[in-house]
Structure formats: structure tokens, C-alpha cells
């Protein structure tokens, strides 16, 4: 589904991703983990095209999209939930959702009802400004917004940051449900082990801009955790 081949990325002078190789299979639930600042967000942004890849290739569904523009990616089926949510603060909740209808994948011209079924709060809040919502509500909105695109892959960057426990559970259930019922590929960046274990079936551990360990989630043992996730 998503494949990175020796991808390098730099911010001005400092290189963040080093010869990054990564393969994510269709229909899988993958969790990317690593300490602060190892480049997880950078990696996701490269996949989304929000940051240019310096060298190396990135292909999605077998197609090389290294040079494709950001706008193309939702159309080939990527939904993105960024770290910090990036809700449009001055738009209403409804307008935030409607924006996704612009994507050609989404045939329907109204917001699909099942989004509201997954996140009932949003229905009550349709007319409020996105920026006024509390953190958890914004997170739900961000996921819902990505779902309106009708994506094949859902990329989430630390979706639980600042979310109340029962919503975390809700998000977990939603992700599992989407994966189960729609076969949606889930790519998740997550720091919290319990959640990562509950959602991910595969894991990739990052360190200094490289994947240094991967495998099935069950293989993620204390030793690895101690080595790569501890401070």
C-alpha cells in the first residue's frame, strides 16, 4: 500500500529522516512509535506531501507519488489527522466536514450519516465554530473530517493527545471498526503503549529518523520498549 524507499528529508540544514525504508500493507493496522523528535510527524508529513522528500521514493498503491502534490493524495485515498488536529477555527463544524466533500473520491454531496453515528457529539455541535470546541471534540471532528473523504488509508498523528479516557476508547473502537468493516488501512503514530497495543497489529519503532525495529505488535517486548521508548 505505502512504501518508502531510502527516503531522506531535511529541514534547511538539519536532516531528519535518514534512508528511511518502510512498508505498510493494505488493510493493516500499523503503529509507528518512537521518542519525541525522532521524526514521526515528519514521516507522516512526507507521506502526505506536506514536506518534500529530498531523495528516495514514495509509492502508494504501487504508484510513485514522490513528486505528486498534496492535493492529489486525498484523491488516491489518504485521509490525514494531523498532530494538533488543525481544525479550521473560524469555520463551523459542519463547514469543516463539508470541506472534505470537495474530494473527488467522495461521490456523495452531503456529509454521510455514518460519520455522525461514529461521533454523535458532532451532530449536536454542527453550527459551532470549530475553534471553540474542546480538544476532544476537535479530535473527533478531525477524524470525522478525514473519514468524509472516504479514504482507503487513515493516517493519525497521536490522536489521543489530550483526549478524555472514554473518548480514547471510542476512538479505539472506531478505528478497529473501520478496519474491520471497511478494510481501511490504519497508520497510527502513538506514544502510549496500551493504546498502541490495542489498535496496532504491526509496529515500527523509530530512532533518529530511521526505522530500527518492526514487527507484529505482540513482539514488542519490554526490552525494545526500554531501549527505544524510554528517555
Amino acid at each position: 500500500m505505502i512504501e518508502l524507499n531510502s527516503v531522506n528529508q531535511k529541514y534547511g540544514g538539519t536532516q531528519i529522516l535518514w534512508d528511511m525504508n518502510l512498508k505498510i500493507e493494505a488493510g493493516s493496522r500499523t503503529c509507528i512509535m518512537g521518542r519525541n523528535g525522532v521524526g514521526k510527524t515528519t514521516l507522516l508529513k512526507c507521506i502526505m506531501g506536506l514536506l518534500p522528500v529530498s531523495t528516495g521514493t514514495l509509492s502508494i498503491n504501487g504508484k510513485d507519488v514522490t513528486k505528486a502534490s498534496v492535493e492529489k493524495r486525498p484523491e488516491i485515498g489518504i485521509g490525514y489527522v494531523p498532530q494538533g488536529r488543525d481544525i479550521f477555527p473560524q469555520l463551523t463544524v459542519e463547514e469543516n466536514l463539508k470541506l472534505s466533500l470537495n474530494c473527488k473520491r467522495q461521490k456523495s454531496k452531503t456529509i454521510p450519516e455514518d460519520v455522525y453515528e461514529l461521533f454523535p457529539v458532532l451532530k449536536e455541535m454542527l453550527q459551532r465554530r470549530g475553534g471553540d470546541l474542546s480538544g476532544g471534540q476537535q479530535q473527533q471532528l478531525a477524524i470525522a473530517r478525514a473519514l468524509v473523504l472516504n479514504p482507503d488509508v487513515l493516517i493519525l498523528d497521536e490522536p489521543n493527545e489530550g483526549i478524555q479516557p472514554n473518548i480514547v476508547q471510542l476512538i479505539r473502537d472506531v478505528l478497529l471498526k473501520l478496519n474491520r468493516e471497511k478494510g481501511m488501512t490504519i497508520v497510527l503514530v502513538e506514544q502510549k503503549l496500551p493504546f498502541a497495543r490495542a489498535v496496532g497489529e504491526k509496529f515500527h519503532l523509530m530512532e533518529k529518523g530511521q526505522v530500527i525495529a518492526s514487527g507484529d505488535m505482540v513482539e514488542l517486548n519490554d526490552e525494545l520498549v526500554g531501549k527505544y521508548l524510554a528517555v
Binding site: 531535511k10 534547511g12 540544514g13
Partner: protein
């Protein structure tokens, strides 16, 4: 060598050179620097000081003032009033008290705000006080009520525009559209003599150096860092315990005073001050000097003012009908290709060698960090 040393030394050497060449070599000698050039340079240096004051508030504190011309003009008017009074009974109507324009508009006595205008000391105080006071009043009103961003910019513009209209009026007692002109001498020295010009030029250079040193000190001090922090996130600064409004007001006042001094030095050298100086377009031009030179570097502001003024002088003479194309083009090109202005040219060239393929990444990163400013 710090930029401070560099700027002060350059100024020192250049001033010395120019004065020496003007006074020592005969006109006609290849080394002679004409009085025309000296006056021109003097004017440029005034602009440079003005640009410096704009950079101080804009480059470091994020206050985009589109009304700095007001401070400049007020300083200029204060000096103009003094010079006007120096004319004494040598005016066309021979009135020892009243400036000519008052005589022929039938004023019978000086308005109260002209009181003391024949004293150099008093007017020198005014040069500092009036722009400073305006900056203080305007600044404390605006910053205390947290007017910021474009709202502030447009209000500064409204301020200078209102002053423009007011000074146009003959009733204001500042000579209306014709302004103050026909000056004869300053502190008893004829404004037309070369020596006076040289001295004025040197004083301007010295003031610029002092202005630079002050600004440099401010921005390098902790205050400078607070001010930069205010530019980044004013509200966050509050929660750290600083009062951004006070910092803003005072840096605005310092800047206003510097601009006023620039105006005061400008008037005797160009020989006229009139309401045109309040024109909003002038103030925009000042901002442009800073942007061209590179904002937030101080010396960039100086470079910008000098380059743009020189370009204007040259262009208007060599291509009087097309110079606006050249100037406009210059503005566009500098913005597009030198995001950090002329001052950023050297670092940019160096950086160019360092990065080859990841050029684009840097751009996006640059853009990101600049969104805030």
C-alpha cells in the same frame, strides 16, 4: 567585529572621507566631493536614521507602523519653526516677530504654540518631546487596549493622514501647504555655507551612529529578547510576567524620538518642511526601505534606506520617464528573491552552497517560522 563596531567605523571613515574631500580638494579636482553630494548624503543619512527607527519597532517588536512619517515630520516642523524664527526681520515683510506666511495671512501675533520657538534649546527639546509625546499617547492608548496587527498599522496610517490634513490647513499656523521654508541660518551659521553643510552632515552621521548604538544596545539586551518574544506571542509574554504594552509603548517612543531627530536633521539640509512629509505613502516607503534592506537587522535598515534613496536619485535623473518601472521592479524582485532583504544576501549566498537538493524543504521551513511575524 560586531555589527555595531562595523557600522560605526564605516560611518566614521565615510564621514571623514567625505568632509575631508569636500573641504580640502578644489572643485574640479578628481578627489573633490561636491557640496551637492554632501547634502545628498546628509539627506540619505537622515533617511537611514528614520529607517533605523522603523526597524526597531517593526523588525524587532512586530509593530508595523505605517505612520512613522508623522514623527519624522513633527521633528522636522519643530526644527523648521526654530529656523523660521531665525530669519527674524530678514523675511520679505521685514517683520521681526512673525514668519512671512503669518504676516500675509494677517496674523497679528504668534500663536501660543510658537512660544519659545526662537530658542534653539527649547526647540531641540521639542524635537524630542513632541514626537515622543505623540508616540507615547498614541502608543499607550493603542497598546493598552491591545490594538495590534493590521488594525494598528491602519490606525497609524489614519493618524498620519489626519495630521496631513490638519497641517494643510492654513489656520494651523504652520504655513499650510507651502510649509516652512526660506531658512537663512542655524545658530548664527549660514545654512548656505559649505562648512555649515559639512557640519550638519557630520552631526547627522554622529546621530546615526548614536541611534544605531542605542538601538543595537536595546535589541541585544534582555529587553530586546522580551520584545522579540512579544513579536512571537504577545499573550504568552504576559503569562511570563512581562507587560508587553509597556515594552511596546517605550520602544515605540524611542523609535518615535529617533524618527523625530531624523526629521530635525533633515529640515536644515533640504531647506523645507511641509505637510507632504505626513503623507501615508511616505511612511509606506520607509517600511519598504527596511524590508529591502532586511528587517530585524538594524544595519539592513540603513542599507535599505541608502540603496532605495540612491536608486531614486539616480533613476529620476537617468530615466525620468521610466524610473518608476525600475523602482517598482526593484521592490518586487527583492521581495521575491531576497526574503531577508539585501542584508540577508550574503548569508543566503553562503547557504546556497551548503544545500543543493533540499532547497525546497528550507523554503517551507522558512515560511513556517515566519507565519508568526
Amino acid at each position: 567585529m560586531t555589527s555595531l563596531h562595523f557600522v560605526v567605523t564605516t560611518l566614521f571613515v565615510a564621514t571623514l572621507y567625505v568632509s575631508f574631500c569636500n573641504l580640502v580638494f578644489e572643485p574640479g579636482s578628481a578627489l573633490h566631493v561636491s557640496t551637492y553630494t554632501v547634502t545628498l548624503l546628509g539627506k540619505y543619512l537622515c533617511y537611514a536614521l528614520l529607517a533605523l527607527s522603523v526597524d526597531l519597532v517593526w523588525g524587532y517588536c512586530g509593530i508595523l507602523s505605517l505612520g512613522h512619517g508623522a514623527f519624522f515630520a513633527l521633528g522636522g516642523y519643530a526644527m523648521g519653526m526654530y529656523l523660521m524664527r531665525q530669519i527674524g526681520d530678514r523675511g520679505v515683510y521685514g517683520n521681526p516677530e512673525l514668519p512671512d506666511f503669518m504676516v500675509f495671512l494677517n496674523w497679528d501675533s504668534l500663536p501660543w504654540y510658537w512660544a519659545g520657538s526662537d530658542s534653539f534649546i527649547w526647540m531641540a527639546v521639542m524635537v524630542v518631546l513632541i514626537p515622543g509625546l505623540l508616540a507615547y499617547v498614541f502608543g499607550s492608548m493603542a497598546f493598552k487596549s491591545r490594538v495590534s496587527g493590521v488594525y494598528l498599522s491602519i490606525m497609524t496610517q489614519a493618524m498620519t493622514y489626519a495630521l496631513l490634513l490638519a497641517f494643510f490647513r492654513n489656520e494651523m499656523g504652520f504655513g499650510g501647504n507651502n510649509g516652512l521654508t526660506d531658512f537663512k541660518d542655524i545658530l548664527g551659521f549660514s545654512l548656505q555655507s559649505d562648512t555649515t553643510r559639512i557640519v550638519l552632515f557630520i552631526i547627522t552621521a554622529v546621530m546615526l551612529a548614536i541611534g544605531y548604538a542605542i538601538s543595537h544596545y536595546i535589541v541585544k539586551s534582555k529587553m530586546g529578547r522580551v520584545v522579540t518574544a512579544i513579536r512571537d506571542s504577545e499573550s504568552r509574554v504576559r503569562f511570563v510576567g512581562y507587560k508587553p504594552e509597556n515594552y511596546k509603548v517605550w520602544i515605540f517612543v524611542v523609535s518615535g524620538v529617533l524618527a523625530g531627530i531624523a526629521g530635525a536633521l533633515y529640515v536644515p539640509q533640504v531647506g523645507i518642511i511641509n505637510p507632504g512629509e505626513f503623507s501615508p505613502l511616505n511612511s509606506i516607503e520607509m517600511v519598504i526601505w527596511v524590508a529591502i534592506g532586511g528587517r530585524g537587522t538594524l544595519y539592513g535598515a540603513i542599507i535599505g534606506a541608502l540603496v532605495v534613496s540612491y536608486a531614486k536619485t539616480r533613476f529620476t535623473a537617468i530615466m525620468p520617464e521610466a524610473w518608476l518601472f525600475a523602482l517598482g521592479g526593484l521592490f518586487v524582485l527583492v521581495t521575491l528573491f531576497l526574503p531577508k532583504g539585501l542584508a540577508g544576501l550574503a548569508p543566503q549566498l553562503i547557504a546556497k552552497f551548503k544545500r543543493s537538493d533540499s532547497a525546497k524543504a528550507a523554503d517551507t521551513a522558512d515560511t513556517k517560522s515566519e507565519v508568526k511575524s
